[in-house]
């Protein structure tokens, strides 16, 4: 794993840094892609959970420069954390990123709004060039913009670019070279007021005088036509659900072969290590602990990459904002934001990318509330657990398990909504809902290369930020499952039933009894904190399932589960009541230290992460006990 500045030159403050600035949807990130040839990384700075994109310009554009793509700024009034950071950098108040020059990205179809924002940049008195994007959309709005006239009126070079094809990018850089040598003189942008009413008037006057824009803009006909369809009173939701279903299908079915491949590769690697090297604790730690532990999480990587890819695709095409518009009403009723549907949906794959996806929610309160309920979304690590437990409780046909599983998924969405609504009404009622005011960008045919590049940037950021906690957690859990106190030696490698984990399991057995579980199930529950599906493999270990013969691990485990009894009473452990109790426990409990670690990092505090861990795990336990006891009272064993 490399750090973000590994390839580029030392600390950003010593370097010449060109900042890409602009409003959201101005094509900034696509331009970043074109400038750097896709050679950029996300960078995080201490104390800030906002990622910047850093890269170096391609040599063919002249002297390579360090480029930082700042988050898009919609408005500097009541800003989101992203907007706040961008404004801080632009105004030169950021301690690490000091811009030497700006590339102001301006949407040619929205000159007034974008140039008004440009006033903030112009007032900094730093060399600035304007990259005029979306020029190809001018055909749709029936306008034409004369870049030369605009440039003359502003006193700033204006270069029309199409970052999607690379047209104009070289000229943009050449004009920047010409500027940085000379003293930066006053320009029209620097005179734009910081007071919006005055600023818009100034920009309007300037545009009128310049004669750069012919004709007033007509509504973009293609965008209006598509919107009439996707926001249609009757068709809007069917289209939206179709998109969601396709997303789910891709995440689960398309990813499956890749997941099997990765699973196979890690199993092979782990068994090769343990069988080839001479048997020792270190070898087992490497094989069963590290490799298998990383493998347990790596299997989700294809799902997460597909998720990132499809989300970027939807975002780029312009549909995501429409989807958010459709569902904003029910979501804002729950105290969430239209855009919350993206992290919630991602949560069905894995809570960790979902936490990252919550950054798309501009409002703090709504972002916090969304992250709060994400652990309830039925992530795919729960799937193997549910599959095992449902197979154990439903002896009937596969369709029964299918229906039960669908019910679990739908309930997780409904209960998540309920928790959000209750939390918003009881604990956040003093906080006003934030403004929606969400831009619906013009529809564009997506370009594959920038999307793939962005997917990779997001995927590798995920690996970097989530990979380390996951590895640490799985290593620690392996150690406590394989080491224990042995008379004579204080700590030694032991079989699992004598390990620290089993000791811990036996200590908590009194707590587990009310939910119908013994210490062995407890060991499974503890080890599941590495990743929920580890529950299945550790149960197999503690119940001594022999996987050498033809049967699969699950079949062997099911056989063992049917006969397993409590050591003292001799009663069966896995009864319908106790199995349903376990399902309830997994449904609510935040059994994932990686999620806890990622939320802590994202919020830069233990408060929310710790609260989630205690609340959801406590809730899961309480409801599991209530379920088991009431089922028994009703006569279900």
């Amino acid at each position: 794993m490399s750090t973000d500045t590994a390839r580029s030159t030392p600390s950003p403050s010593k370097d010449h840094v060109v900042c890409l600035v602009g409003m959201p949807n101005s094509g900034k990130t696509t331009l970043m892609n074109a400038l750097t040839g896709g050679n950029f990384k996300t960078a995080n700075y201490a104390g800030v959970t906002v990622s910047l994109l850093r890269g170096r310009s391609k040599p063919e554009y002249g002297t390579p420069r360090n480029i930082v793509d700042l988050p898009g700024v919609h408005s500097s009034v009541a800003p989101s954390p992203e907007e706040e950071l961008a404004v801080e950098v632009i105004e030169g108040r950021h301690s690490k990123v000091k811009p030497d020059a700006f590339i102001l990205v301006v949407d040619a179809t929205q000159l007034e709004r974008h140039l008004k924002f440009g006033g903030l940049v112009g007032r900094q008195g730093k060399p600035t060039v304007i990259a005029l994007t979306m020029v190809d959309l001018l055909d749709r709005t029936g306008q034409s913009v004369n870049a030369l006239k605009l440039s003359n009126a502003l006193g700033i070079p204006v270069i029309p670019v199409d970052p999607r094809t690379g047209r104009g990018v070289k000229e943009l850089f050449a004009s920047l070279d010409g500027l940085s040598g000379m003293l930066w003189m006053g320009n029209a942008l620097s005179e734009v007021s910081s007071e919006p009413v005055v600023a818009f008037k100034q920009v309007q006057d300037l545009l009128r005088r310049s004669g750069a824009v012919t004709r007033t803009a007509q509504p973009d006909s293609l965008t209006s036509r598509i919107d009439r369809f996707v926001l249609h009173r009757y068709l809007g939701f069917p289209v939206f659900f179709l998109v969601l279903i396709s997303l789910f299908a891709a995440i689960f079915w398309l990813a499956q072969p890749f997941m099997d491949m990765i699973d196979g590769a890690f199993t092979f690697a782990a068994s090769s290590v343990t069988s080839l090297a001479p048997e020792s604790v270190l070898v087992r730690f490497l094989g069963d602990g590290v490799i298998a532990g990383v493998g347990a999480v790596a299997v989700f990587f294809p799902q997460i990459m597909i998720l990132f890819f499809l989300m970027t695709l939807l975002e780029d095409s312009g549909y995501l904002a429409r989807g958010a518009t459709l569902v904003d009403r029910p979501l804002s009723y729950l105290g969430l934001h239209g855009r919350s549907f993206v992290p919630m949906l991602s949560g069905f794959a894995c809570a960790i990318p979902a936490v990252f996806a919550a950054r798309a929610i501009p409002a703090r309160r709504e972002r916090l509330l969304t992250i709060w309920i994400l652990p309830l979304m039925s992530c795919s690590a729960r799937l193997p657990v549910y599959a095992l437990l449902l197979a154990a409780v439903l002896s009937g046909a596969a369709w029964q398990a299918g229906i039960a599983l669908a019910a679990i998924y739908i309930s997780s969405l409904l209960i998540g909504s309920l928790v959000a609504g209750v939390t918003a009404r009881i604990f956040m009622k003093h906080r006003q809902p934030s403004l929606l005011a969400m831009e619906l960008p013009a529809y564009r045919v997506p370009r594959w290369w920038p999307i793939l590049r962005m997917t990779w940037a997001r995927g590798s950021a995920y690996l970097k930020r989530a990979g380390v906690p996951i590895m640490i957690v799985s290593a620690v859990l392996w150690i406590i499952s394989n080491f224990g106190y042995v008379p004579g030696a204080p700590i030694a490698a032991t079989p699992m039933d004598q390990s620290f984990a089993s000791e811990l399991g036996q200590k908590i057995e009194p707590v587990l009894r009310p939910m119908g579980a013994d210490w062995r199930v407890g060991v499974g529950l503890i080890s599941a904190f590495a990743a929920r599906e580890v529950f299945v493999s550790s149960l197999a270990i503690v119940f001594g399932v022999d996987t050498d013969d033809e049967q699969t691990q699950q079949e062997g485990l099911l056989k063992q589960m049917r006969t397993a009894t409590f050591a003292d009473t001799g009663q069966k452990i896995f009864t319908p009541a106790s199995i349903i109790g376990l399902i309830v426990f997994f449904f609510f409990s935040l059994q994932c230290f990686s999620t806890v670690a990622v939320v802590r990092k994202e919020m830069n505090s233990w408060k929310l992460a710790g609260l989630q861990l205690l609340f959801y795990t406590g809730l899961g336990y309480t409801l599991a006990v209530v379920t088991v006891q009431s089922l028994r009272a009703l006569g279900v064993a």
Binding site: Q110, K201, D227, H232, E439
Partner: protein
């Protein structure tokens, strides 16, 4: 002749160009609306209502912005 009475943007029909008279709502939110381009005198129009009747899509200065009904009601038009 009496000056036309200002009415909230939510009362305006689809695709009718109307001129903003003033904003009347929470200070911070109106400041952000101003910053986004909803300044008095500017011509805007409602291009669409979401299927559930909220939010609505408003065209302002060449951009399409989705506003919730309560936010749009702060925008008083002539």
């Amino acid at each position: 002749m009496d000056p036309p009475v200002a009415r909230p943007l939510t009362d305006v029909g689809l695709n009718r160009n109307v001129r903003i008279e003033r904003l009347d709502g929470p200070h911070q939110d109106c400041a952000r609306l101003l910053d986004l381009g909803f300044t008095p005198g500017e011509e805007i129009s409602v291009t669409q209502w979401a299927p559930l009747g909220d939010p609505l899509v408003v065209r302002v200065r060449g951009a399409l912005l989705a506003l919730r009904k309560r936010e749009a009601a702060w925008i008083l038009v002539e």
